[in-house]
């Protein structure tokens, strides 16, 4: 059985699955229930001077039958008194000493305010502090949240203030709503951060009611941009985690956040360098119980693959994240259609014909045989047909071997290496894709 125990910047937890700061970590009752169901840690709903929320707070992007493929919220930080939150954090920590309990904090940008808040927090026995520099809605209008996290100097400054008094690890939560997240990550490192967590939510409007022209979620006819999250944001989060993890000047651990709902998502984040995983939307959809399959699925997969500890997989994909200019131009692919599996929907033809390289030929349906075939001299190996094909392993991309050594654009532009010959018919074979008469 794989060992899922985690030590993240000195914070220990029985597994890497933490609840992200948000509605599921608002109260003692929720966090205690989550720990009972198997969660390894929890980052408390952000504490600060209590706010007043609007009622309508969440919006959803549904994709076909799938609800909450994307999700957004305009809820602010905790609306409960600071002392009440701190008292409950202390109680959770007392009753669950082996679990990671992290306090998420957000106060106005004053040194004394941060000092006071950090000291009060440490008295609870919390294992760490997460600085919410990412919340993109509401709080940012008041000079907090992403208003801090979008300016490297502010980020560095506040981390320094916090580190002046903090004796427990300090995690800085980064906003994705910036041009280059690595600048903010480096500023946090410069300020003395012990770890980073990313991503916070992305600025968004989830939709507009076309009967009333109200943006969603509507509050008495109006809305405000909210933080976008859920499965839809995972690719963005994976990229940003890899960008920060791959930055040589960022050597501190990273807690991965953004669209994690299954153990596969988690494994991908770990492979790109995440030390722990934080989950919120999936729990808001399906409850704390999802942690059982997060743990079971991850450990079964690790057992099958012979990975004993999380360290065995952490960052394994990172060396494979490269610059485009370093990719091999001589790696040639060709689409292959398994005609026995083809169900004759012709989606591949449609996509290739109109959206790509006109490299699929249609054959008459009344022949009873195949209805599509690859025009090999026109196929650029782009993957589009394989991606749109609704049948598993029906269209596969196969490498076309050649005798040429790998050559990247960088090398080629510098006059080094040779390009393997390519078909002369790219973009010129349109005629061939018409049905044969």
């Amino acid at each position: 059985m794989a060992d899922l125990r985690t030590n993240f910047a000195g914070i220990e937890s029985p597994n890497p699955f933490w609840l992200a700061s948000g509605p599921p970590t608002n109260t003692y009752g929720q966090v205690a229930k989550a720990f009972d169901e198997g969660w390894g840690g929890a980052v408390w709903k952000t504490i600060g001077e209590p706010i007043i929320n609007v009622f309508s707070r969440y919006g959803s992007v549904d994709l076909g039958q799938t609800r909450m493929m994307g999700f957004n919220n305009i809820e602010l930080i905790s609306d409960r008194p600071i002392v009440e939150n701190l008292k409950e954090i202390a109680e959770v920590k007392r009753n669950y000493p082996k679990h990671a309990v992290i306090a998420s904090l957000m106060v106005e940008s004053k040194r004394e305010a941060w000092h006071g808040m950090v000291k009060q927090t440490e008295d609870t026995g919390a294992d760490g502090i997460e600085l919410n520099f990412g919340c993109p809605h509401g709080m940012s209008e008041r000079g907090m949240g992403s208003a801090v996290g979008q300016v490297p100097d502010y980020t560095c400054q506040i981390v320094e203030w916090v580190k002046e008094v903090a004796t427990i690890p300090v995690i800085v939560k980064l906003t994705p709503n910036v041009t280059d997240i690595t600048y903010i990550a480096r500023a946090a490192v410069k300020g003395g951060a012990d770890a980073l967590s990313l991503i916070n939510t992305i600025n968004s409007i989830v939709g507009v009611d076309l009967a009333t022209f109200e943006p969603q979620p509507s509050v008495a006819g109006k809305s405000s941009h909210g933080g976008y999250c859920g499965p839809a944001v995972k690719p963005i989060a994976l990229h940003l985690v890899s960008a920060v993890a791959g930055d040589p000047s960022v050597e501190i651990p990273i807690s991965g956040i953004g669209g994690i709902g299954s153990w596969r998502d988690a494994a991908e984040f770990i492979a790109l360098g995440a030390g722990t995983l934080q989950v919120c939307t999936a729990v808001m959809h399906y409850g704390f119980r999802i942690v059982e399959d997060l743990i079971d699925g991850l450990s079964n997969w690790m057992d099958e693959r012979g990975h004993r500890t999380l360290a065995d997989i952490r960052g394994r994909a990172l060396p494979r994240v490269a610059k485009w200019e370093d990719l091999d131009l001589n790696y040639h692919l060709l689409a292959h259609i398994d005609q026995d599996k083809c169900i004759k929907c012709e989606l591949c033809w449609t996509a290739c014909e109109d959206g790509a390289h006109q490299a699929i030929r249609r054959l008459p349906r009344d022949n009873g045989g195949p209805v599509v075939e690859i025009i090999e001299e026109a196929c650029v190996g782009c993957n589009l047909c394989a991606v749109v094909c609704p049948v598993q392993d029906c269209i596969t991309m196969r490498q076309v071997p050649n005798d040429y050594s790998p050559v990247s654009w960088k090398e080629y532009a510098a006059g080094k290496g040779k390009l393997a010959p390519r078909s002369e018919h790219f973009h010129t074979a349109t005629w061939a894709s018409r049905p044969k008469s």
Binding site: T66, S262, D293, D296, G297
Partner: protein
């Protein structure tokens, strides 16, 4: 004309073929993942259905199978033979949204096939306790009980009268639902936990029941029901009159062409076994196979979807027709059956009669008041589904374990 091998194989192929990976994934993602799910409540073994489906959706098939097999050692055969229309799938909340329910049985098969085909071992025997339990009958009840007792570390010896274990899973489920080799593979997985199996041994005949009480700390009795009840009408001893269980067992233990079927077959009775008999007679090549039932359509004890299946198979139904006698021709073979109807007596011509009017009890006398004796399965519940027998075997294992541990 006898059917070709190819046609017979087609007729007895799985009525609900396995899902492809694609189809399983698509189906799994349709599950709403209900809390306190009606499907789980409806299952006598209370498999956490949404949890195992969720695991299929995440690609954790091993974990999925474990969720199924932990509470239900016969999760594999249940996936093929359970009356899901009246259990989990009938309870699916999607029915209330006027949609097809989630294909729970096929998803369950998808996950359990995965581990069975790969011979993955999901469970292990517990630490040796030194306690010995005898199990009488290697059907689902007995073996479910055996598996859980092994997981608790008790020594288990199973006594089975038949040459093969599995009970009706091996010998009695319609061939197009569950084949014997699959049933036996599932049984083997349980035996591999270290269960001692003695086949060809009839307790009460070869071994006295008292012997078991003397040699073991507890005894579980799951002997199932006895042979088909007698009709009590003239002509039932004629050659060409066979009871449904014998007919089905022969079909399941021989190459298809070796099972004799008439040209015009009458099946007496309208329970689920009668349906299994009439459909399989038809699939073996009978020109006509007809259910003859003394009461009306609405009174049939079989499940509605089984009735529908028989109709789709082209089987006939004669309701309100009470069998009076089976008629022989000059050479002593079955020539017809005389039935009483509201408009008088009538003879239905046929050359084979299959009797499916329910099973009688076994003759084994069991000291039920002895606290060391436990029962379950058909012999205790009067005859129900695999899933009921399994649930009772599992529950009995729990009680036996408690007794052996605490008392």
């Amino acid at each position: 004309m006898p059917l070709s091998e190819e046609q017979l194989a087609k007729n007895f192929a799985d009525i609900a073929p396995a899902l492809t990976n694609d189809a399983a994934l698509l189906e799994a993602t349709k599950c709403l993942y209900c809390h306190d799910a009606p499907c789980t409540i409806a299952c006598p073994t209370h498999i956490d259905v949404p949890a195992f489906i969720k695991k299929i959706a995440t690609g954790n098939l091993r974990g999925s199978a474990r969720v199924i097999l932990d509470p239900n050692p016969f999760g594999h055969s249940c996936a093929r033979a359970c009356p899901v229309e009246v259990l989990c799938e009938g309870a699916c909340v999607l029915n209330d949204r006027d949609e097809q329910p989630i294909k729970i049985a096929l998803l369950q098969r998808h996950a359990t096939d995965y581990v069975l085909e790969r011979k993955l071992k999901l469970f292990e025997a517990g630490k040796r306790t030194g306690k010995r339990v005898a199990i009488v009958g290697a059907g689902p009840a007995g073996l479910a009980c055996a598996r859980d007792l092994r997981r608790c570390g008790h020594e288990v010896t199973v006594f089975e009268a038949k040459p093969q274990p599995g009970g009706l899973n091996t010998y009695g489920i319609a061939e197009y639902k569950l084949k014997s080799d699959v049933a036996l593979a599932e049984v083997q997985d349980i035996l591999d936990l270290g269960v001692e199996l003695k086949t060809g041994v009839t307790v009460g005949k070869d071994v006295p029941f008292d012997r078991l009480l003397a040699d073991f700390h507890a005894v579980f009795v799951g002997v199932g029901l006895g042979s088909t009840k007698a009709l009590g009408i003239p002509g039932e001893d004629l050659p060409g009159v066979v009871d449904a269980l014998t007919f089905i067992e022969h079909l399941k233990t021989h190459p298809y062409r070796e099972t004799t079927v008439g040209r015009h077959v009458v099946v007496i009775g309208a329970g689920n076994t009668a349906i299994d008999a009439v459909t399989q007679a038809k699939r073996l090549g009978a020109a006509a196979a007809t259910i003859v039932y003394r009461r009306g359509e609405a009174d049939m004890p079989c499940y509605h979807y089984e009735y529908e299946l028989a109709k789709r198979d082209g089987c006939g139904f004669r309701f309100n027709a009470a069998p009076q006698r089976i008629i022989a021709n000059g050479s002593g073979a079955v020539a017809g059956i005389e039935v009483r109807t509201s408009s008088g007596n009538e003879t239905i011509p046929c050359d084979m009669v299959i009797v499916a009017i329910g099973q009688g009890e076994r003759g084994l006398v069991v000291p039920r008041n002895d606290p060391r004796v436990f029962t379950g399965g058909d012999c205790a519940n009067g005859g129900a589904e695999i899933v009921n027998a399994t649930a009772e075997g599992v529950a009995a294992a729990k009680r036996i374990h408690e007794r052996l541990t605490n008392g």
